[in-house]
């Protein structure tokens, strides 16, 4: 089976074509113009990850919500679950950029951190 993955490592946006076996293993890979593209496309095929950025409610701040992010990428299929958990969080001002808002977010070993002072 052939699978197309657009590499997003740099603006070149290579169309990487993966030849995938029946067990899902990558047999060969073409179209990438550098080594980083190979790493990205392989990872994107086997275990795609994204950094989740969103907001949480905050009490006593100059704005009603605080922007947050996961400090490391999380599995792509966990984004929705992450949003549902973040929607229930209430933080308290004052907050400094980098403050951990939720430790061990979703039990994934990453933290949800504040991305600004508030």
């Amino acid at each position: 089976m052939l699978k197309h993955i657009t590499c997003t490592v740099c603006p070149m946006s290579c169309d990487v074509v993966l030849k995938v076996g029946e067990d899902g293993k990558v047999l060969s890979l073409t179209g990438n113009r550098c080594a980083r593209g190979k790493v990205y496309a392989t990872k994107e095929h086997t275990a795609p990850e994204r950094t989740l950025t969103s907001i949480v409610r905050v009490n006593g701040g100059v704005h009603p919500v605080l922007p947050v992010r996961t400090n490391k990428p999380i599995p792509k299929d966990k984004l929705k679950e992450g949003m549902l958990v973040a929607a229930k969080v209430n933080a308290n001002a004052p907050i400094t950029m980098g403050d951990v808002i939720v430790k061990d977010f979703l039990g994934l070993g990453v933290d949800l951190v504040a991305t600004r002072d508030l």
Binding site: T6, T8, R50, V62, H63, V65, T115
Partner: protein, 417 residues
């Protein structure tokens, strides 16, 4: 009226203004003032909560607020003055700034140098002439972004996005993550206007359809948007009869371009480039009015804030020198011209003896080309896209080899180069 005298006055406290003020101060200008109309510094970055900022500048992927916070913290560590919630009403060619706030009333700020850093504004529905009523639910993408990310509420449940600029793509993902349904992104061009990584991570990740060479031809609903009709367009952007399709939705987001905000600049007599809609500047980022500088999105719309910071530091540095009276320009003035498949180049003119960095955009996508810098440098490019700004540096030594006083930037196919 309160009167203030400063060395460098910076209008706008977004990424451009922050970087310019810091650079002016470290260049030796003693009294540097940032004038910002919002309640806080950071500009539009504060609502761009997604990540992808700062890869060049900080070698890591930051969110917008993180990128802003780093610069805000740097400013806080200096004696740079900041006036918040202050609206500039007028800038004169003599570098007097009239501003107003509720604490001081009217202010007259006399500056030895002025940096224009007011950023840009979104193109609105009025500029598109879409037929239909005026129901609630039509927003520019940036307005919706503010509602969601700063004010904390979602302005719709089912959205169509017109225009595939980066803000529109980012908002498609944002709406989806927040539980709304994005029915479609509609783009009049044959390719996405935003960065490819945004098409992949904001649309493809969530199976949001992107309709190219299509547009919204009607907005339905009287009190609230009830749907839109989209249609394919021909090469002249005219709707093709028979291709119409109605999509039910309660929200239409417009991501149809940004326009530099130069009302103050024009009033001050600053000459404006009709392509960029921003001031014409030389390589010190000085406009046609002596002592008035410009940088960031007020000068031309950037896609990377990293480039805004870099350009603004240059503006701030030279504004600082101008205020101190230590600018030493050289008599030779080289005009910069946009050649084949180049839409514009900034700066428009070179007159210094320092290395220059040019920022430019192409008119249309092209692959396997060479960027020819006035015959002085040739850079191979696998691909060029209107959405991706090009930048190239030229040293004074290289510039010496230029015959004549015009430097032409052009894109040529690799075969012909």
């Amino acid at each position: 009226m309160k009167k203030v005298h400063v060395d460098v006055a910076v209008i706008g406290g977004g990424p451009a203004g922050l970087a310019a003020a810091l650079a002016a101060r470290s260049e030796g200008a003693e009294k540097v003032l940032i004038i910002e109309r919002n309640t806080e510094l950071g500009g539009i970055l504060q609502q761009c909560i997604h990540h992808g900022f700062g890869l060049h500048r900080f070698k890591e992927e930051l969110t917008g607020p993180e990128y802003a916070q780093r610069f805000v913290n740097l400013v806080k560590d200096t004696d740079i003055d900041v006036l918040l919630e202050t609206m500039v009403l007028e800038v004169t060619p003599e570098r007097k700034i009239y501003a107003v706030n509720s604490e001081n009333g009217m202010l007259e700020i006399t500056a030895k140098a002025v940096v224009l850093a007011m950023g840009c504004r979104e193109r609105t529905r009025g500029a598109l002439r879409i037929p239909g009523g005026r129901p609630a639910g039509v927003y520019s993408a940036g307005t919706a972004q503010r509602y969601v990310n700063i004010d904390g509420y979602l302005p719709g449940k089912r959205a169509v996005i017109l225009g595939s600029g980066d803000i529109g793509l980012i908002m498609a993902r944002r709406f989806t993550l927040e539980g709304a349904k994005v029915e479609a992104v509609v783009e009049v061009l044959p390719y996405a206007a935003g960065l490819t990584r945004n098409v992949v991570q904001c649309l493809e990740d969530f199976d949001i359809p992107l309709y190219l060479q299509s547009t919204v031809i009607e907005i339905h609903g009287t009190k609230r948007v009830e749907g839109v009709t989209i249609a394919q367009v021909d090469a002249d952007w005219n709707p093709i009869p028979g291709t119409e399709r109605k999509i039910e939705c309660d929200t239409l987001l417009l991501s149809v371009g940004l326009v530099p905000e130069n009302e103050l600049s024009s009033q001050a007599g600053v000459a404006i480039d009709s392509i960029t809609n921003g001031p014409i500047v030389d390589d010190s980022m000085m406009t046609s009015v002596s002592g008035i500088f410009a940088c960031g999105n007020v000068l031309h719309v950037h896609d990377l804030v990293d480039n805004v910071s870099k350009e603004s530091e240059r503006a701030g540095r030279y504004a600082g020198r101008f205020a101190l009276g230590t600018n030493n320009s050289v008599p030779r003035r080289v005009k910069v011209q946009a050649g084949n498949n180049i839409r514009y180049v900034v700066p428009h003119e070179v007159s210094s003896t320092e290395p220059v960095e040019f920022f430019m955009r192409v008119q249309r996508p092209e692959d396997d080309v060479v960027l020819d810098v006035g015959g002085l440098r040739r850079i191979r490019k696998a691909s060029v896209r209107p959405s991706e700004m090009l930048d190239v540096k030229i040293t004074p030594e290289q510039l010496q080899n230029l015959e004549g006083d015009t430097l032409i930037m052009q894109i040529i196919p690799q075969k012909e180069a």
